[in-house]
Symmetry: C2
Subunit: 559 residues, 2 copies
Amino acid sequence: MKSRLSDIEIAQSTDLKPIAEVARQLSIDDEELECFGCTKAKISLKIFERLKDKPDGKVILVTSINPTPAGEGKSTVTVGLSQALWQAGRQSIVALREPSLGPTMGLKGGAAGGGYAQVLPMDDINLHFTGDMHAITSANNALAAFIDNHIHQGNELNIDIRKIVWKRTLDLNDRALRETVIALGGKANGFPREDGFDITVASEIMAVLCLATDLDDLKKRLAAMIVAYTADQKPVTVEMLGVQGALALLLKDAIKPNLVQTIEGTPALVHGGPFANIAHGANSLIATKMAAKLADYVVTEAGFGADLGAEKFMHIKTRAGGFTPGAVVIVATVRALKMHGGASAEDLKKEGLEPLKKGIENLEKHIETISAFGLPYVVAVNRFVHDTEKELETVLGWCRDHGHPAALCNVWEEGGKGGLDLAKEVIHVLENKDHQFSYLYELTDSVEDKLAKVSRIVYGAEGVKLTEKAKKQLQEIKKNGLGNLPVCVAKTQYSLSDDPEKTGRPKDFFITVRELKPSAGAGFIVALTGSILTMPGLPKRPAALQMDVDENGRAKGLF
Amino acid sequence: MKSRLSDIEIAQSTDLKPIAEVARQLSIDDEELECFGCTKAKISLKIFERLKDKPDGKVILVTSINPTPAGEGKSTVTVGLSQALWQAGRQSIVALREPSLGPTMGLKGGAAGGGYAQVLPMDDINLHFTGDMHAITSANNALAAFIDNHIHQGNELNIDIRKIVWKRTLDLNDRALRETVIALGGKANGFPREDGFDITVASEIMAVLCLATDLDDLKKRLAAMIVAYTADQKPVTVEMLGVQGALALLLKDAIKPNLVQTIEGTPALVHGGPFANIAHGANSLIATKMAAKLADYVVTEAGFGADLGAEKFMHIKTRAGGFTPGAVVIVATVRALKMHGGASAEDLKKEGLEPLKKGIENLEKHIETISAFGLPYVVAVNRFVHDTEKELETVLGWCRDHGHPAALCNVWEEGGKGGLDLAKEVIHVLENKDHQFSYLYELTDSVEDKLAKVSRIVYGAEGVKLTEKAKKQLQEIKKNGLGNLPVCVAKTQYSLSDDPEKTGRPKDFFITVRELKPSAGAGFIVALTGSILTMPGLPKRPAALQMDVDENGRAKGLF
């Protein structure tokens, strides 16, 4: 057993391949590669033209049970599975989301897998990386400035300053910016109004970038974004302001996927990172499609549990991309299942077979969801150091008894080697099962039906209730011709229900939608249940207090 | 005469050398170079260790008369002179400031020289470039979030929320953010207070980055920055918040100079870009010193006229860097001198010898200033298309009659060839004149004396007056032990006086300092005269409306 180094210690003790060498493994031409230093590169979208006749590789989606404070290690399993596929002689690319600087400086200290299953260079990926987040922040805030400037310069479009829905963003955790009043100080500074900042990953531009198929589609989606309403409730779009070209120009490089490598030197595309509640929570469609063109297997993930990330992956991302996933991996840990079964954080240190058995019902529900989509799946039991053999066998035995393909994995500690069993199972279900993917709702269903189907089939709810406000908003959405978009439910990640306290597999509940907001550029209708924080705050002792850089430019305090 | 293409047309019709080839011209080792695509690179600071015994090249500062709406083309001359030095067989690097996205999207559309004297790739340099501005924005706003979080989490340092002097920043023109109220919405969002945003180039972090000598010095300067005061008027620094390490980490790459090329393939370092009023207005010290290590000549510039940029270059930048400039080029145009002599914008189209003769007094004052520093100089008369031969001869004749070295240059149209006469003159004064550089004030002078000496010797004022507020602030500055810092006067660029209407060479005036603010990290005391806008606004029709990107990722509408 290797000694327990921290993620950054492991990362910094690894020799990285030149990124050009990683690219050559995938037969990427030199002129399709734009290097950012020796270990990062962007890949030109021109590659799609060259490879247009090549058949696509199989897409494996990694999802999980509902997250708990105990941690599930979904990203780590995603990276480790891709490493394992290479060890098993299969060409695979892992396609991940980009971490956001806000949580990195605040609570998390970094996010790019962990242990011996992480993507590198860990410090760069967690800091500015190739600048995609900054480009999105710039485009988002340039648009906000254009809106306020339009009003200041005469307001030809008759924007109602009480109905501006476009917020500013920063890629930081900054609670003080959640609710603000701007344009104070007199006539020269514009018209005072209420405003607020979201974290950049919550910007609709992030969702747009992640669902666009090319630069042209990006521009069309940007043009369609609704930024405000007129006094008589007509939508004001980016196109009406005439700045979709400028915004697309600011995003011309951010749209290109970023190539890096795993700790075992296998290829990774890390690109885009929208929220998994108010947005769809998966890496960019372009990166996923590019990975499928370049390799036989694409291992990718979606945010939070299968009720949020996987559902949206199926209904929003695969629809935008016109592709079908090949299989799903559902990550569970003994620790998290015990919490779903009622164990407290302190209980986790000792064996707990009873809460574990009870908590498996959460896993069971997510298996049912993936089955409802008609997709093959494998349960990945991600081993943590304190798990007992009896506990692990309890989960694996349950899977065996119920005919659910499953594998234990230990990629944090062992890298790809610790994922070989999982890889074998995944290859098996991909190659042997005859499945037929289908959506759980059609775009032509009414918005109410879409919400009801997701609530019943995915969450196990009795149904959905709309507040009066949501009903009124729905009428506007229909009036504006947006009723045929898929829905994107913003719901707590901690429960299948809309109440974060209800762990396990809650029953006899309804989902209450309190607001409906069209994201006309991203192409979905956000249904808000409960209160979703789109600008996090910092903790009492932010991770930043431990961060430093030595005189040679080496990062410290990322973890 | 070449046809009049726009700057971006000229830029995009130029074949660029691979940046690695530009680096090899300067004997930069491969491992000292971090490429950003094929045409941009950052240079590692490790190069200073390798070249520590190599003698420094000569630094040539390009400055100008007081700017007018007619345009002077200082950056264009700076680039063109460096190109000309190569044509004359001398190894030269041009060291410029990075453009800010705000003015690019707003009024200017771009800024990296012009015509056949520009730095390339023009579109990238004008957009996100290598992310330096974004890193500074992130560090600036992370610090702001740490301050508000500190207060929210208990305010151990007893920060007075009415005395927070650290503002948030965005690299945009956004007047609506000049004056805001933040942290509204109840207890969870912190303590409501007045706040505001500056444009990123106005951040003290930009000045700090541009004056730091290495990562360690950067961290020390960041730690020293004053962000607020306590109820009993004690300064609260970044060090007290404990986040200088995190901020330095965010800037670890931004501190490295960016290597690009001129349109003639000669090397250019484009790095850093502080305001020339509330800060010192020159590219980074590290880039200037690196250029001096790598080439025999460094051609660099400072913002606005010699009264602002050049004065601060001498008193702030050369002091921080411990170097002495070799010569100064003072750029003047017939058009601008005519405006200084009373001509209106409409008058400029026709010959105007009388206003021209009168306007030369502005040039004369700046020559006196450079002479006062004991430096050799050359007047560069930058030719514009409508200038008549008589007008040009009027300026050149005046220089000849008064013994001022001068040369006509036409680099916008002819590139380096159009700057050969200027290059010859510059080499001549560098090699033949025996000059002795000296500061106009000592750091041990009182702040009042420093201000008085700059006002009298550089602006031609009778003296300086401090408002009661400034006097009170000066007492605090002295009490906090900051009285030995150089001064940084924030004054209108359009006049030698503090009144923008007074063009030419105003006489019998006093400079009124209305506020004094210590920039303890940057290491200067900002003296505000008149009102200085630190967050620009957008015009009625922003440049962004013309911007676009085609399906191949090619920029349109930058100019």
